[in-house]
């Protein structure tokens, strides 16, 4: 089947999509966007987190056909269409040293981006709740929490 979907502000079309394949597969293998990572393939790890119509989802749990005509934003698109450099949330992850092996980072960046858009100055329990669906097997969680706090402070201009 053919799937046409807006990804990071640009309309994209993929052909010969198998109806049972995931949005994650569509993004990585057909549209050349490897930012969302493929790890658990069952919604447990959050590494494949993207926005679908403005809401965070595990792209491994969305059927490719379900996104036809919808809007997807991946970690590659956080800086806006044609955007260069890093989004402030990404920069905060760099500055706080919140990256070890880096595999979980794209999913965490999208989840943190969503949190800070909804809750500009989150308390620690809100950060933990928002990131509860993202696993870091290097267990670098403290630095990740630091990164979210740093991004929140910068966003508030403090």
């Amino acid at each position: 089947m053919r799937v046409t979907v807006t990804v990071n502000g640009t309309e994209r079309t993929a052909d010969d999509v198998w109806p049972g394949e995931s949005l994650l597969y569509l993004l990585r293998e057909r549209l050349g966007l490897p930012g969302a990572k493929n790890a658990c393939e069952q919604g447990e790890c959050g590494s494949c987190t993207v926005y679908l119509d403005g809401e965070v989802v595990c792209s491994c749990l969305v059927a490719a056909g379900q996104v036809a005509g919808r809007e997807v934003t991946t970690v590659e698109g956080l800086t806006g269409a044609g955007g260069a450099g890093l989004h402030p949330v990404q920069q905060a992850f760099v500055d706080a040293g919140a990256v070890q092996c880096g595999f979980c980072t794209p999913g965490l960046v999208v989840a943190a981006h969503d949190l800070l858009a909804r809750v500009p100055e989150p308390a620690d329990p809100e950060i933990r709740e928002a990131l509860a669906g993202n696993l870091c097997r290097c267990t670098g969680y403290e630095k990740i929490l630091d990164a979210v706090r740093l991004a929140a402070r910068r966003q508030a201009g403090r």
């Binding site: 049972g20 959050g46 679908l52 965070v56 595990c58 749990l61 059927a63 056909g65 509860a132 669906g133």
Partner: protein, 286 residues
């Protein structure tokens, strides 16, 4: 595999009748895992996310008619006041990424004994609304919907339209045990609903029997013994006996998530706590 994507409810029911070999798909949190891990290969997927009727809820008398496709995230933000038990359970489902997709209708469709929505639906006395093109709509108590592990009363040509949940007349609670707060399939869970308007108590047990189930003897005990008029403090012995009767109503097994003995113990503790919290809420409200 065919991908069927109806735009209306009548079209969905017609496709369901034509294609009993199609697997209904909503949020995908169960179905996509089965497909990816090659556990299921249905001849077709029936994507229900484009059917507007399923995405809505509305008041119908003193009940909320919750469309089968409303995700947990919306239950939390839009219905926590009217359906507190279901909202507490919704908050324990998966993670934010799961709650934006997973639906109460999908939970019912999977009919897992461990489904988080089921105990609060049982405790509240909810009904499930099923529909088919040939026979129209029928409603049945949620307790009659579950027929076995991952089996339900849903016929091959039927779809789950909605669940009808009475607006809470009193406090409701839900407890769940797992290895961490997020991303946990319940080891066991329990819901308690107080119905002070009719001096009754509802219960629901999850993940401790072949199906989610109520604990009628526990309900009957506390409905008769609670001080509904005076709303005096809950007697410790009564709360403990309630817990024991909830545990006795379960039929748990040993499996990878926990032992039968642990589940019984946890149920007794959780049921006692849930009743105590709910009763204390009721006393504060008075």
């Amino acid at each position: 595999m065919d991908f069927l994507q109806p735009a209306t409810w009548s079209e969905a029911l017609a496709l369901r009748a034509e294609r009993p070999d199609a697997l209904p798909l909503a949020g995908g949190t169960d179905v996509m895992v089965d497909l990816t891990f090659d556990r299921r290969r249905p001849a077709a997927l029936l994507d229900l996310t484009r059917v507007p009727d399923l995405q809505e809820w509305a008041l119908e008398g003193d009940r909320v008619r919750l469309g089968a496709g409303v995700p947990y995230a919306r239950v939390l933000t839009e219905l926590a006041g009217r359906l507190p038990g279901l909202a507490i359970a919704a908050r324990t489902v998966g993670s934010p990424q799961i709650r934006t997709r997973g639906t109460v209708g999908g939970n019912l469709g999977s009919a897992s004994p461990a489904g988080d929505a089921h105990p609060p639906l049982l405790a509240a006395g909810a009904e499930v609304e099923l529909a088919s093109a040939a026979r129209g709509t029928r409603r049945l108590p949620v307790a009659d919907f579950f027929t076995g592990p991952k089996r339900s009363a849903l016929a091959a040509d039927e779809l789950i339209a909605a669940v009808l949940v009475p607006v809470a007349a009193g406090p409701q609670q839900f407890c769940k045990v797992g290895t961490r707060n997020a991303m946990v399939i319940a080891v066991t869970s329990v819901a308690v609903a107080l119905h002070p308007d009719r001096r009754a108590v509802g219960t629901g047990i999850g993940s401790a029997a072949p199906t989610p189930r109520r604990a009628p003897k526990a309900e009957q005990l506390v409905a008769e013994e609670l001080d509904w008029a005076g709303r005096t403090a809950l007697d410790d012995g009564l709360a403990a006996e309630f817990g024991h009767r909830v545990a006795a109503a379960a039929a748990p097994i040993d499996d990878v998530r926990g032992s039968a003995a642990y589940r019984r113990h946890a149920l007794a503790v959780m049921a006692r706590r849930a009743l105590t919290w709910a009763w204390d809420d009721l006393r504060r409200a008075a």
